[in-house]
Symmetry: C2
Subunit: 243 residues, 2 copies
């Protein structure tokens, strides 16, 4: 287990351990959902961990259920006891990851609203954003989901809406506020948010999507790239001085 290996922990994967498995008690009787048995919970967690890692490392088709079971130290039967089939396992994992991405987006943008020094806040935001987006498991997730967007179109849409899209909508909302306060000269907040985001992450993300992990820029290089994007943004959308 080398240090450079993709670890699902990196994504803070905390997939719901109480799946909706069946419709909740349509007959009214107390539910014997396997969601209570600690054995089932342990197995389920192990499967999710293993599957997340493997899907990100190898993709959907090149990951077999046998591989997942082996890595989770669980029998294949147990996988199928917890997940109806491979597709549901995949979608559940992606949606779990998506939820954490959504949370990240909100936390990323929040500081902007009470920033005294707007340029400094934007620089900090940009650095965080670029660092997050170029992390290896995130890049792999992007590759994976876009590749499978034909097989799982709804899933791809949902991911995009809640992960990269969420950053843009939150950013646009913050920009709109700042514009209303007269602190940023912006007429179309949504466009400005897109420009900001892709000035900062566009080129690097594109490179990393194709060139392997080897081409990953160093930390200082990432900061330089982020700063360059912010500089261009501030030139295009100049902040008004504080009154």
């Amino acid at each position: 287990m080398t240090g450079s290996e993709a670890n699902s922990d990196d994504l803070l994967v905390r997939v719901s351990l109480r799946p909706p498995h069946q419709a909740p008690t349509p007959d009214g009787s107390a539910r014997d959902d396997r969601s209570q048995d600690p054995r089932a919970l342990r197995s389920r967690a192990a499967i999710v961990q293993a599957a997340t890692t493997l899907f990100l490392e190898r993709g959907y088709v090149d990951t077999s259920v046998d591989d997942i079971a082996a890595r989770a130290a669980v029998s294949k039967r147990t996988v199928y006891n917890n997940f109806a089939d491979k597709e549901r396992l995949f979608t559940e994992i992606v949606l779990g990851v998506t939820a954490t991405a959504e949370q990240f987006a909100d936390e990323l943008i929040a500081p902007l609203r009470q920033a005294d020094d707007l340029p400094a806040a934007l620089r900090e935001l940009a650095r965080r954003h670029l660092a997050a987006v170029t992390r290896l498991p995130v890049v792999r997730l992007r590759r994976l989901i876009s590749a499978e967007s034909a097989r799982f179109p709804d899933l791809a849409r949902e991911y995009h809406r809640r992960a990269p899209g969420r950053v843009l909508t939150a950013l646009a909302a913050a920009f709109a506020d700042l514009a209303a306060q007269g602190r940023l000269r912006i007429h179309d907040a949504e466009t400005a948010a897109q420009h900001f985001a892709f000035l900062v992450v566009g080129a690097t993300l594109d490179r990393v999507m194709f060139e392997g992990e080897a081409a990953m820029p160093s930390g200082p290089e990432l900061d330089r790239l982020a700063d360059g994007g912010v500089e261009a943004f501030l030139a295009a959308y100049p902040p008004d001085e504080r009154p």
Copy 2:
């Protein structure tokens, strides 16, 4: 065959019909390369057409050699007479497409050098670029190559260097010239090129990579997006007036 179907013609696929097949005549005798027989040429072209379409439609793993042979109206055996294996067929096709992308990049940037009205030339360039990059087969190619970047790392690097990368280097060179002529206020041409490209195509490309063909913006919408990117770029990197 519906109008919305991906057609490999869209990419102007003209894969080399004279493959390097074997090392050229190591024994010195005149080579009987199958590259002369019109039967072989016809088969080879049909296979390339079919494989290009199918790989773009379904991806690498979900396209079987049987499918390719059937679509090319050729026996499977003929496929293997022309290409050593599925992987080589794939790489040869991608490299062929890459070559046309490379050519497109050069033709896209060329008009910039003799432009009288620089902002107008940039707007025109941006519209062309965005339109090209969001075309369905191109998007599918991006998905495909990034998805297979683990299986074909060299191929992915090569594609990126020669297709999206080529646009950036050509643009950077043109910007550097314009800056030297005092027509554009730029200190780092490479950074400026990246900013220009991703202001124009970033957000749209990202959306289209995930959301299916359904979410593809209309032509006028694309133009609006391109114009918005150019406007922001010109604000950040103002052109000096012509002397």
